[in-house]
C-alpha cells in the first residue's frame, strides 16, 4: 500500500488532515447553540452566518476537490472547451442574485430547510415536493462520490495505493459531520480555502517561471492539439463547439444553485445583505478556478503523463497532483495535496447534510413520522448523513468510478429539471402543479435520452474514429441527431430544460381549461421580501398540519 511513498509529502498531508479533523469535532462548540438537536442548528448552523463565514462556506462548497482536478484535466485533454468553468462561474452570480434573496426570505419566514419544503408550501403538492427532494438526493449522491475521486487522485500521486486510506478519511469525516453538523465544514472551509489560494497563487507564479513563460506553455499546448487528430480540441474553440461552450456555461450556472448543498449554504446565512454581498465577492474563487484550469496547459508543457492503472486505464485526474509533485519541493507538494484533500471534505460534508435534510423533511416527516419533533428530525438527518456517505464510499470502491462520473454528468441535467418548480416558483404561480410534474417528467426523459445517445469518440491518427464509449460519453449533444444538417453540439441539459418549460406551459394551459383543482399556496407576497429581524412564522405555533 505504501511502496514508493514520498515521506515528506505524506507527513505534511497527514498533519494537516489531522488538524482539520480535530477542528471538525471542536466545531460543535463554535458559536455554541443551546442544542444541536434541531435541524436549524445541526443542518443550518443556526441560520446565523455572517458575510465572512458564508463566503468561505459557499466558496468551499461550490468549488470542490473534484472541480480542482477535473477542470484542469479537461483542459489538458481537450483545451479551450474546458475553460467553460470560467464563464459558468461568472454568470451564475448575477443570474441568482435576485432569486436567492427571495428564497432566503420565504425560507426565513416559514422555517424551510430544503428547496422541496418551499415547493410543498408554494404549490400545495406533496408529489411535486417528493419529486424535487428525490431529484436533489439522486443528483447529490454521485457528487459526494466524486469527492472521493479527488482524494484518490492526490493519494495516487503521493504513491499511496489501496482503499484503506480513503475509508479512514471518510470515516473521520462522517464522524465529525454527525457530531457537529454544518458547523464542521463551515469552520474547516477557512483552512481549505486559505490553503487553496496559497497553492494556486504560488503555482501560477512558480510553474510558468520554471517552464520558461506563458509563451512556452501555450506553444506546447498548441503543438499537442495540432498533432492530435481530434478536430474538436485546440487552444481556441472549434466553430461547432461554440454553442456547446455557451450553453454548457449557462446551463451549468442555472443548475448550480438548484443543488441542495448550495441552497443549504445560502439558507445558513443571516440575512439578505449577506447573500448579496457574497454574490458580488464569490467570483474571487472563479479567478482561482480560471488559473487552475490553465494548470492543464502547464502539465502539457511539463510533459506530465497521467497515471495508468494496472488495468491500463488512464486517470487524467492525476495530472494536477503530478504537476505539483514534479514542480514543487516535497513539503509544499504536501501542502498542495492537503489543499485538494481537505477541499474534498468540505463539500462532501455539506452535500451529505443537504441530502440528509431532504430525506428528513420531505420523506421522513412527510410519509413516515408526520409529528416528528425537532429532536427526531435532527436525529433522522444525522443518521441519514452517515448512510449517504457509506453509499458514496461503496459506489467508488464497489463499482467502477466511471459510474459515478456518468451519474454526476446526468446529475447536473436532472437537477436543472427542478428549475420551474423552485426558481420560477419563487416568482410566479402561473404554472399548474400537475403541469410542473409533467414538465419535470419530460425534462428527465429528454435528459436521459440525449445523454444516452452521446458517444465518446477517439480520433485515430489515420483519420478513423473509434467509439470509446457507446453511451453517456459527454454532455454535448450533436444537433445532427435531431435532423439538423450541422456539426454543432448543444448542452444536453439545456435541451432537456427547454422541453421541460414547453411541457409546463402547454400542460398549464390545458389543465386550466379543464378546470383542474389548483394547489393551496400558503406563502404571501410580502414574505418574499422579509429580512433579518423580521418575525419568523414557524416560531409562532399557529401552523397546523
Amino acid at each position: 500500500m505504501f511502496d514508493d511513498v514520498n515521506t515528506t509529502e505524506m507527513v505534511v498531508f497527514t498533519t494537516l488532515f489531522v488538524v482539520v479533523s480535530a477542528m471538525g469535532f471542536l466545531a460543535a462548540r463554535w458559536r455554541k447553540a443551546e442544542t444541536l438537536e434541531h435541524l436549524d442548528e445541526w443542518g443550518l448552523g443556526g441560520r446565523s452566518f455572517g458575510s465572512w463565514i458564508t463566503w468561505f462556506l459557499i466558496g468551499g462548497d461550490l468549488y470542490t476537490a473534484y472541480t480542482f482536478v477535473a477542470v484542469p484535466a479537461l483542459v489538458f485533454g481537450a483545451g479551450a472547451i474546458g475553460f467553460f468553468a470560467v464563464p459558468y462561474t461568472i454568470v451564475v452570480y448575477p443570474i441568482v442574485f435576485l432569486v436567492l434573496i427571495r428564497l432566503w426570505s420565504i425560507s426565513h419566514v416559514h422555517g424551510f430547510v430544503t428547496p422541496a419544503d418551499f415547493v410543498r408550501a408554494r404549490h400545495g403538492s406533496s408529489t411535486l415536493a417528493l419529486l424535487v427532494a428525490v431529484t436533489g438526493i439522486v443528483a447529490t449522491m454521485p457528487y459526494i462520490a466524486l469527492q472521493l475521486v479527488g482524494i484518490e487522485a492526490v493519494l495516487k500521486a503521493m504513491g499511496v495505493t489501496g482503499h484503506i486510506p480513503i475509508i479512514v478519511a471518510f470515516t473521520i469525516l462522517a464522524a465529525y459531520t454527525y457530531n457537529s453538523g454544518l458547523r464542521a465544514p463551515a469552520l474547516i472551509a477557512f483552512v481549505k480555502d486559505t490553503l487553496i489560494y496559497i497553492v494556486i497563487i504560488v503555482a501560477v507564479i512558480v510553474v510558468p517561471y520554471k517552464l520558461g513563460g506563458w509563451d512556452e506553455i501555450f506553444g506546447a499546448a498548441e503543438a499537442k492539439f495540432a498533432e492530435s487528430p481530434n478536430p474538436g480540441d485546440g487552444i481556441l474553440l472549434a466553430g461547432p463547439s461554440q454553442l456547446q461552450y455557451a450553453t454548457l456555461a449557462f446551463g451549468s450556472a442555472l443548475a448550480l444553485f438548484l443543488y441542495p448543498h448550495s441552497i443549504t449554504g445560502v439558507l445558513a446565512s443571516r440575512g439578505r445583505n449577506v447573500i448579496k454581498r457574497n454574490m458580488a465577492t464569490l467570483p474571487a474563487y472563479s479567478f482561482i478556478l480560471g488559473l487552475l484550469a490553465l494548470l492543464g496547459y502547464m502539465a502539457i508543457a511539463a510533459d506530465v503523463t497521467p497515471i495508468t492503472s494496472d488495468e491500463g486505464k488512464v486517470d487524467s485526474n492525476t495530472i494536477v497532483p503530478l504537476l505539483f509533485d514534479q514542480m514543487f519541493p516535497s513539503w509544499f507538494a504536501g501542502v498542495a495535496f492537503a489543499a485538494i484533500g481537505i477541499g474534498a471534505l468540505v463539500p462532501a460534508a455539506i452535500m451529505s447534510i443537504a441530502a440528509a435534510n431532504l430525506w428528513t423533511r420531505n420523506i421522513y416527516r412527510e410519509y413516515i413520522n408526520r409529528d416528528a419533533t425537532p429532536a427526531q428530525e435532527a436525529r433522522s438527518s444525522k443518521l441519514a448523513s452517515l448512510v449517504v456517505k457509506v453509499g458514496a464510499l461503496l459506489a467508488i470502491l464497489g463499482l467502477d468510478p466511471q459510474f459515478s462520473i456518468d451519474l454526476q454528468l446526468i446529475g447536473g441535467i436532472i437537477i436543472l429539471q427542478t428549475l420551474p418548480a423552485v426558481a420560477l416558483g419563487l416568482y410566479t404561480r402561473w404554472f399548474h402543479r400537475w403541469a410542473l410534474v409533467a414538465g419535470w417528467a419530460a425534462g428527465m426523459a429528454v435528459g436521459f435520452w440525449t445523454t444516452y445517445q452521446i458517444q465518446q469518440k477517439v480520433f485515430n491518427a489515420d483519420g478513423s474514429i473509434t467509439i470509446a464509449k457507446e453511451h453517456f460519453g459527454g454532455s454535448g449533444f450533436p444537433l445532427s441527431e435531431l435532423g439538423f444538417d450541422t456539426t454543432t453540439a448543444i448542452y444536453a441539459g439545456f435541451l432537456a430544460l427547454l422541453a421541460n418549460l414547453v411541457v409546463c406551459a402547454l400542460a398549464t394551459v390545458a389543465l386550466r381549461a379543464a378546470k383542474a383543482p389548483d394547489g393551496v399556496d400558503v406563502t404571501k407576497p410580502d414574505e418574499y421580501f422579509a429580512d433579518e429581524g423580521d418575525p419568523r412564522l414557524h416560531e409562532i405555533p399557529e401552523v397546523v398540519h
Binding site: I95, R102, I235, L237, A246, A280, L294, V522, D526, L537
Partner: protein
C-alpha cells in the same frame, strides 16, 4: 396539507407594517446591470481568438479572466445601490 387557522393572530406585534420592514419589493432599475456579465461571456465569437495577447496569454483566456472583474463590479454596484 399545511394550512393556517382562519383566525390566526396578527403577527405584526402591533407594529405598523410600513415601519416593520423596509423593503416591499426587489424592483430596481439597477438590476438591469446584472445582464452585462451574461452578454460579455455567453457569446463566444466575441472572444474566441488568439490576439491580442497579454503577457503571452491568448485573448480567449485573459479576456474571460478579466470578465470576472466585470461580473464583480456590476454585482457589487447593484448590491450597494439596492442594499436593505
Amino acid at each position: 396539507m399545511t394550512t393556517y387557522e382562519p383566525d390566526r393572530p396578527d403577527r405584526s406585534g402591533g407594529v405598523p407594517d410600513s415601519t416593520r420592514r423596509a423593503a416591499r419589493s426587489d424592483h430596481s432599475p439597477w438590476n438591469w446591470l446584472l445582464l452585462l456579465p451574461l452578454v460579455a461571456t455567453l457569446y463566444p465569437p466575441l472572444y474566441n481568438r488568439e490576439g491580442p495577447t497579454l503577457f503571452d496569454i491568448p485573448f480567449f483566456y485573459w479576456y474571460q479572466l478579466a470578465a470576472i472583474a466585470i461580473g464583480v463590479t456590476t454585482t457589487l454596484l447593484v448590491f450597494l445601490k439596492t442594499r436593505g
